[in-house]
């Protein structure tokens, strides 16, 4: 059975960063990734704000760095089973039956997007012109075409914020944090692609917290004439000409709105992927049905899980930007390194000695 200092579950940007940091500290590391390629959710995005960094290039750069080290990379496998060993380490079995032992585990299982079809009033998967960022990113990459006629020079596009975020009905009370910025970025990008387009954002309130975000919001309004309406979309239906009939409310004017749109982008919120195995499912914080994992102490020990030797990295704990996820990956690696150092000073097989 192969043994490692650390097994990292999830090969997204935080998991990869943790792996690179630990290997530079001479630790023996293995990454287990369920998808074919490393990169995780970053593979779904076209570019990252600020700086318009190409998302696939970031994933590729990190992957190449990893491939130039002796980090063991296992892809297309999921963790099936985990158990603690007698020497305070961990046993891990994957879906192909491969077994490994390690002293520490970093969980970096990332996030998933809210399933927008749960909000059936918004018509996702029912009406073709209703899409989520997943489809829009593919449209930007030209992998799929826009769901309106090619001749449409002046598409009327609606972007709805907070779909599955800040939503009692879907049990997701948290703000997904990234979507406001992403929606503004999408509005500008769409406007650049369709200069005659009319773009309207429907929001609860705008949460543009990062450096450069507010400036981007100002740019969207001043330079690209993007509209922002404070209100929710209540109902989406399809017209006979295949355009969308959208009903909404403008809460500032106190008026109901109704209009025809060519495209509706639902800014789906972020949910955690939870722990990878059933054995550790108790780790899921019951207070957050959105399946984000709770660290030992969100202020002072944010990378530590309550089980010694288990660490958390990246957006499995909550919504993060790419830069935050990378920083958190480094932070988790450092905490893991400290723990391994402390363990190396303790007698081996502590459990057996006690017996």
């Amino acid at each position: 059975m192969k043994t490692f200092d650390t097994i990292i579950i999830g090969g997204g940007i935080s998991g990869m960063t943790s792996a690179l940091a630990l290997t530079s500290l001479n630790k023996k590391v293995c990454i287990i990734e369920k998808e074919v390629n490393l990169g995780g959710n970053i593979n779904n995005w076209s570019s990252l704000f600020p700086g318009e960094i190409k998302a696939n290039q970031l994933a590729l750069d990190l992957t190449n760095k990893i491939l130039n080290t002796d980090i063991k990379v296992i892809t297309s496998q999921e963790v099936l089973e985990t158990a603690q060993t007698d020497n305070n380490g961990f046993f891990i079995k994957t879906t192909t039956g491969a077994c490994f032992e390690c002293q520490t585990v970093i969980v970096s299982t990332g996030y998933k997007l809210f399933d927008a079809s749960k909000k059936e009033e918004l018509g996702y998967t029912i009406y073709k012109p209703v899409i989520t960022p997943i489809e829009l990113e593919q449209m930007f990459k030209k992998s799929i075409s826009y769901p309106f006629k090619e001749k449409t020079q002046q598409p009327n596009i609606a972007i709805l914020h907070c779909v599955g975020s800040r939503d009692v009905q879907s049990s997701n009370l948290h703000c997904s944090k990234l979507c406001c910025m992403l929606a503004v970025k999408y509005a500008i990008k769409l406007k650049k692609e369709f200069p005659e387009a009319k773009i309207t954002n429907f929001y609860i309130d705008l949460r543009l917290f990062g450096i450069g975000y507010e400036a981007l919001y100002q740019e969207a309004q001043k330079e690209h004439q993007v509209s922002f309406i404070r209100g929710r979309i209540s109902e989406v239906a399809l017209n006979s000409d295949e355009t969308l009939r959208i009903k909404a409310e403008d809460t500032l004017l106190g008026l109901p709105l109704k209009g025809n749109f060519d495209l509706l982008v639902l800014m789906t919120g972020i949910e955690g992927n939870g722990f990878p195995t059933t054995q550790l499912k108790q780790a899921i914080n019951d207070a957050f049905p959105s399946k984000f994992l709770a660290s030992k102490n969100p202020i002072t020990e944010d990378n530590n899980y309550s089980t010694p030797g288990v660490f958390l990295a990246g957006s499995c704990k909550g919504q993060m930007t790419a830069s935050e996820a990378i920083s958190d990956g480094n932070s988790a690696a450092l905490q893991t390194f400290y723990y391994l150092k402390q363990q190396s000073l303790k007698p081996i097989n502590l459990h057996l000695n006690e017996a």
Partner: protein, 346 residues
Amino acid sequence: MAITKQKEIAKDNYFFVRSCIRQTFFPGAEQALINILKSNLKLNILEDVNHTSCTGIGFHTDIVPLETTMAVIARQFSLMNQSGCSNLLVSCVTSFGLYHEIIDLWHHHPELEAKTREVLWTATRREFTIPTSIAHTSDLLYLYRNELALQSLYQLVSIKTGKPLKVVDHIGCHYAKIFPKQGLGGSEFPVVLSGLITSMGGESIDYPERRHCCGFGFRHYVLKESRGYSMTNTKIKLESMAPYNPDLIIANCPGCAMFLDRWQYTLSEIEGKTYDKQGLGIPVLTHEELAALMLGINPWDIGLQMHQVPVESLLNKIGISYSPVNKYKLTDSKPTTIPKKASILQ
């Protein structure tokens, strides 16, 4: 779709509560339903002549206070208990919503249920248990839609072209908008009527204002001053469905069927036009009337002569034979007054 688990509908043994307005507006519909349930589907359906209005329209118009409504509904349940049934079959969508609303209210406020029990006992010496299940009559027709289709003599298919007729549905707001889990298919895309339509061979048409209120709105209609608001909402629906050239409108709520039917006449008089191409209006049927018609019941025995929009265009499309002469004859074959022709709606 958000709601994947459909509600369970009891298959048999129902206590039937009638609708005040269905009996008034569409006087053949409920009897046609009873005949279908008892004769065609061999179901055990019980009634009690002493049952009353649920007070729904009065309640939603703020004329009947909540305490009265709760006591009246408690009495209905008591009559159901007396019949030996535990399943309630409700004709009216307003009542269907109100029964669920009161039960939910009692669930959250048991003190109101206790008070209602006290009031009912003091006034009538009656007690009650809450129904095991509550179904709307359209739920039951949906449940048995395939059996009904097998027994049907006609289909929602054009006899001329062999193509399915285009049918738009309108689900009463109180069917699933108050409690989405109580409606088949939920509140956004209920299947209770579209399922019946497709089983009968028709094509169910999705139209933008499918979920919009029919225009009844209780107080909006009852108060003459706001009746224009009621009519405007019906106009929104008709305008929305018109581009699809529907052959038929189906509604499961008596109020909705009434307004989608009657306001077509009123709007035609105001606007000088109809919402179909032929100037005949779009016929409106309730779910019971549709089932009865497909089973081959004489249209005039179902009471279709009481509709404002003449149904003959639909009967001709399907190939249902009917006697124009008998349209306005009473049950004893004596003629009655023939209504005047509308100026626009033919």
